[in-house]
């Protein structure tokens, strides 16, 4: 166990898995940096966006840590070919707002390959991206979607994703990048499809998704002052998500608030509210509520700080 930053936990997971399994290949723009310039004395200039892949090229070489041209559709499809032939590519798509350029490869090619080929085509791919645009990806069956909420879950879910025989999309939040948690030094996996209850409560359930989990915990602490006992559930796997655990919590508390940083319409928050309404109907004391940004097509990637502050629901909103 060590106190570890989020980005480092991801980095550790990758390093351990690459050491453990030679079929793990890292792909993405600037995942090392200064590609092809080792002879000029340059290597690992960036270590990937925000250092997620730092040091890997030194340890595993340029054959397994591959900087790519800016061709997301191309290299995501390339990863599908690697996966179909026994490799386990881990692919960096820098930000979720860039994912649309590779949308066809992700939703038509990768999500469908196993199913349509009746299990012949294996797709053990991990796609990793910073950002909150997860709902539209969760819409497509065939992709496992996860959002770690701290360094501990980041390492466990990254490891699980790499070992999984299914395509897994990891949504990392930049807001968590420098957050710290106690993380086991060795390798471990978190099971997909399992939410965790982070705090017991009796009056309401606060459901967190990735970075909103911290907001939920904060809100629960504030609510306690006001004499309200809130249970906090951390979703972790966004698709297919853990209906039983969330249902059980809401059946106990009778109330559900889902906090979600993605666009509100056809989002994960309404997905969860709608399902839980059916599974916890006879115990619901109030209609489940969503806390999301307003329905505006603002930029997540580069919004000015002032805009962002208003744009994102804060814990007071909960």
């Amino acid at each position: 166990m060590s106190r570890t930053k989020y980005w480092k936990a991801c980095n550790d997971a990758l390093r351990q898995e690459m050491a453990r399994d030679p079929s793990v290949i890292v792909l993405g723009e600037d995942v090392a940096g200064a590609p092809g310039r080792a002879d000029d004395g340059f290597v690992d200039a960036w270590g990937g966006p925000f250092g997620i892949t730092r040091g890997l090229i030194q340890e595993f070489g340029a054959g397994r840590v591959r900087d790519t041209p800016i061709s997301e559709a191309g290299f995501l499809g390339l990863a599908a070919g690697l996966a179909a032939d026994g490799y386990r590519p881990w692919v960096d798509i820098m930000f979720t707002e860039l994912m649309p350029v590779a949308w066809d490869q992700l939703t038509n090619r990768i999500a469908r390959a196993r199913y349509l080929s009746a299990g012949q085509l294996q797709m053990p791919i991990t796609v990793k991206s910073f950002g909150e645009c997860y709902s539209a990806v969760c819409h497509f069956p065939g992709l496992v979607c996860v959002a770690p909420s701290d360094a501990y879950t980041a390492k466990g879910l990254t490891t699980a994703a790499i070992r999984s025989d299914d395509p897994v999309v990891i949504f990392d939040s930049l807001k968590l990048l420098r957050s710290q948690a106690e993380v086991p030094d060795g390798d471990y996996v978190l099971e997909f499809g399992k939410a965790r209850v982070l705090r017991d409560g009796t009056d309401m359930t606060l459901l967190g998704i990735g970075a909103t989990t911290a907001l939920c915990l904060q809100a629960a602490a504030e609510l306690e002052q006001a004499g309200i006992s809130a249970e906090v559930v951390d979703l972790l796997t966004l698709s297919p998500w853990d209906v039983p655990t969330v249902t059980e919590s809401v059946r106990k508390t009778g109330r559900l608030v889902v906090t979600d940083f993605d666009h509100p319409s056809c989002g994960l928050a309404t997905e969860i509210c709608a399902r839980v309404t059916t599974t916890a109907w006879d115990r619901l004391l109030a209609a489940p509520v969503t806390v999301t940004p307003p329905p505006v097509p603002a930029m997540g990637m580069d919004a000015s700080a002032a805009m962002a502050a208003m744009y994102l629901p804060d814990s007071a909103g909960v």
Binding site: G77, A79, G81, L82, Q105, Q122, P141, D165, E191
Partner: protein
């Protein structure tokens, strides 16, 4: 150079099988109310020439116009016919249809409904071969219309910068649906490959031998580590984009006739006879092809329908999250 008669017979057999498969498919499926898919007649020399040039272990990816490729590479025709009929006994349990059916044990990784959508995957299969140090290549087919998709460009650039063992086969049949190549495709297709420094060559797509020779050479270059090749095979589809398409509304009878006059099977038959192969031997090949195809579709008629399990199973490999 003397003609390699074994090769000629191989090519002739593959082409005959493609032709017979399609005519049988049309006959059966129209009676049985099943989908026919995308016609391949007229283009058989491309599929046959390419597939005959490959070695076991090589990987082939197709397009929407897929059944010709599936037949030429040697897919199990009975299970293929069952698949096209949507039967749970099909190659892919009736899920895939023409455009996604795959049979990995013969190297057939399937087609796609997205024109050019499989080209990136081909670069990945090629990189896998390279990383594994295997003398194996990937081949991806694409149409003259597909070369205007963005991923065509991305895949070619990736193949070039990493010198991947992949061959891109552009089947230029002159049209993308009703749209002619001249109208939609600026410049010359081989120049597009050359712009990335990729060896690019145009061949007569009606000559199975020529296609074969170019692809065999490309294969050798690829396994030597000398990188990708783009082959533009100039060819023609006799039928419409689909059966029932009124293709005479966008192309002339004279144009069609000029291609019928260079039918790839007839052309190869002439080569075969000139090389001393017995006409009866060729006829026997055709007959055998026909019998095989008829048997396949007779079987398809008796296939069991897809069940609920055929529909729901195996979205995920992980049983703990499958069927959620």
């Amino acid at each position: 150079m003397p003609v390699d008669t074994a090769l000629v017979l191989d090519l002739f057999a593959r082409m005959s099988l493609c032709r017979e498969f399609e005519t049988t498919l049309v006959a059966y499926a129209s009676k049985d109310g099943q989908p026919i898919g995308h016609p391949y007649q007229g283009q058989e020399a491309v599929a046959a020439g390419v597939c005959a040039a490959l070695a076991p272990g090589d990987r082939v990816l197709s397009t929407h116009r897929a059944h010709g490729h599936a037949v030429a590479i040697g897919c199990d025709l009975g299970r293929l016919a069952l698949e096209l009929y949507g039967s749970g006994e099909g190659t892919c349990r009736g899920r895939a249809g023409e455009m996604y059916v795959a049979q990995l044990d013969v190297g057939y990784f399937g087609g796609t409904q997205i024109v050019a959508g499989n080209l990136p995957m081909a670069t990945g299969l090629a990189l896998a071969a390279k990383l594994s140090g295997l003398d194996r290549i990937a081949v991806a087919f694409v149409g003259d219309g597909g070369v205007n998709q963005g991923v065509f460009h991305e895949a070619l650039n990736l193949a070039a910068v990493w010198s991947l063992p992949v061959v891109f086969v552009v089947e230029n049949n002159g049209y993308a649906q009703t749209t002619s190549t001249e109208y939609a495709t600026a410049g010359c297709i081989v120049d597009r490959g050359a712009a990335y420094g990729i060896s690019s060559i145009a061949v007569d797509g009606q000559s199975a031998l020529e296609v074969h020779d170019v692809v065999r050479e490309a294969r050798q270059r690829a396994v030597r580590g000398d990188g990708p090749t783009l082959v533009e095979a100039r060819t023609y589809r006799y039928e419409g984009h689909f059966y029932g398409d009124q293709h005479r509304r966008y192309r002339s009878q004279a144009e069609l006739q000029s291609w019928l006059d260079r039918d790839p099977i007839s052309l190869l038959r002439r080569v075969a006879v000139d090389a001393g192969i017995d006409e009866d031997a060729l006829a026997a090949v055709t007959t055998q092809a026909r019998d095989t195809c008829v048997a396949a579709f007779e079987r398809a008629r008796t296939g069991r329908e897809a069940t609920l399990a055929d529909l729901l199973d195996g979205v995920f490999a992980d049983p703990s999250i499958d069927r959620r």
